[in-house]
């Protein structure tokens, strides 16, 4: 049995390594430093409880929520396929409370800057099946699938975000260039051990719904209730913690240690998988007694 566990572990690690090699083609290549870890593109949208598109105004106390679908994974999640037909990787940011938008006029040629800080938020990324979150165009709000379709499944990573800073710039020519920036710290999830709790950057483009019609360049028309379309990323913590998991030691039956796959082999152990934990009894073998088929059948007669 132990041999089988070992074989399965080796096959799993091999598969992880191979898929990582292929998927990493789109990610930073050594010797380049690690860049993005998770990217979202087309399918991400934001809404607030008190937001006025006409002047990009988020009222004091307005609560911001962002939902979306992951479009790309890099190290340490290169083994995850965002296009998997059976698994959808979705996310939510919530609990973000507005400090109110500050509007500034820059110079005398019509350039404007709208700055909003949102505090106290968190994020969660889920692996769910089937794929059920809306794509391309979100539904009008309120909707029965928002945020529910973005928060189903298993949470693979969750954490806190410090101030989310959203800046909407209007250039003197009337073109909008807008962005968001925050830092995150992971705190949980089934893949948490691969990320650790280092404070790391997350940022991206922020395309607000247009204040006027027709839409100025750099704004994104969205259905009723939505305030913006973000396109951004979580960066990879640098350095990453070593990948670890539970390891059952053959020399000490029942004993379990958290270590890397390589160290587990050195200790003559059986590695149970990345991010597995030493739950009580996980390394204990189920006791069995020798018996005959006849004796076994008599138990049920």
């Amino acid at each position: 049995m132990k041999n089988r566990i070992g074989l399965v572990t080796v096959i799993g690690l091999l598969a992880t390594t191979l898929s990582a090699t292929v998927a990493a083609a789109q990610c930073s290549t050594p010797p380049d430093p690690p860049g993005l870890m998770i990217k979202f593109d087309r399918d991400a949208w934001a809404y607030e409880t008190a937001y006025t598109p006409a002047n990009f105004k988020s009222a004091l106390g307005s609560q911001l929520t962002v939902v979306g679908i992951v479009s790309w994974f890099c190290n340490p999640f290169s083994d995850l396929n965002p296009a998997d037909p059976n698994t959808e990787y979705t996310f939510i940011w919530d609990g973000l409370v507005s400090e109110e938008t500050i509007t500034q006029t820059i110079g005398s040629f019509g350039a404007m800057k709208y700055t909003t800080r949102y505090l106290g938020g968190g994020f969660r990324i889920y692996a769910g099946s089937p794929r059920n979150a809306p794509t391309v165009t979100p539904p009008d709000l309120p909707s029965g699938v928002v945020p529910d379709a973005f928060v189903d499944g298993t949470m693979i990573l969750g954490g806190v975000m410090d101030t989310v800073l959203v800046i909407v710039n209007r250039s003197s020519g009337g073109i909008y260039t807008s962005s968001f920036k925050a830092h995150y710290q992971a705190t949980g999830g089934t893949r948490y051990c691969q990320v650790g709790s280092a404070r790391t950057l997350m940022d991206g483009l922020w395309c607000p719904v247009p204040p006027t019609s027709p839409s100025p360049t750099g704004t994104c028309p969205l259905p009723t209730g939505w305030s913006a379309h973000p396109n951004g990323k979580w960066d990879t913590p640098n350095p990453l913690p070593p990948p670890t998991g539970a390891c059952c030691l053959r020399a000490n039956p029942g004993a379990c240690v958290i270590t890397t796959p390589a160290d587990c082999v050195v200790q003559d152990g059986v590695f149970l998988g990345l991010c597995t934990v030493c739950d009580f009894g996980i390394c204990l073998e189920v006791p069995a007694n020798k018996t005959s088929w006849g004796q076994l059948k008599t138990i049920y007669r």
Partner: protein, 230 residues
Amino acid sequence: MKRAALLLLFALSVIAVPAFAADVFLLGFAGYDYESPNPVPGPDDNYLMIGEGYKALGGVTSFGDYLAPYVNTTVNQYTYYYFDLTVQSHDYYPDFRYLEVGFANPGRGRFYEDSSTPAVFGVYPPNATAPSTFIDGTLILGGHIEFLVLNYDFEANQGGFTGNIHFDEGSLLDQIPEAQRDGWTLSGLAGRPNPSIPNGYDHQISGECIIPGPVPAAHRTWGALKALYR
């Protein structure tokens, strides 16, 4: 007759084209930018002076419906390179530590497919691997960039760019309807500080290319419509 006319009027009063038309997403990207040539190096008010060049390169992170059926991100690497962007206007507002830069028309943006050589940013571009490893392989799409504007807020260390791209070359050009090859919006974030930025690059950027949907229309009654002209 009167009844038929009333019915027709009622039918017309509730007719409306869809109230919302989504932008069409072409692709998303992430990478780094740098100045080249950059005869006046330095921060803030020396960033992107008139006559200096702006370049950006990196990887394509997702494709929209037009191109998705024709790419294979499992075996190929998809990269981009934005170049020939020369600063034409430079307005720095020291009170806000805010910069607005306009670029001369046209610049150029190109997207490549490569199954062999991994793209490597290296340091202090242009270098032995950048942009060369980002522009090898097959040119799948390219176009001229116009009206590109870059804003940067040095107070928040955050900024972005937005411009138009008109596609006119590449092996996948035919997958974009001819009537929709002009007027795509190319936009992205440029931000720092960021420990992932290799030495010699300025910012990590993240963005997308979309084309605005058809002009949205709203539900109106004939009465409301007529009131606009009274």
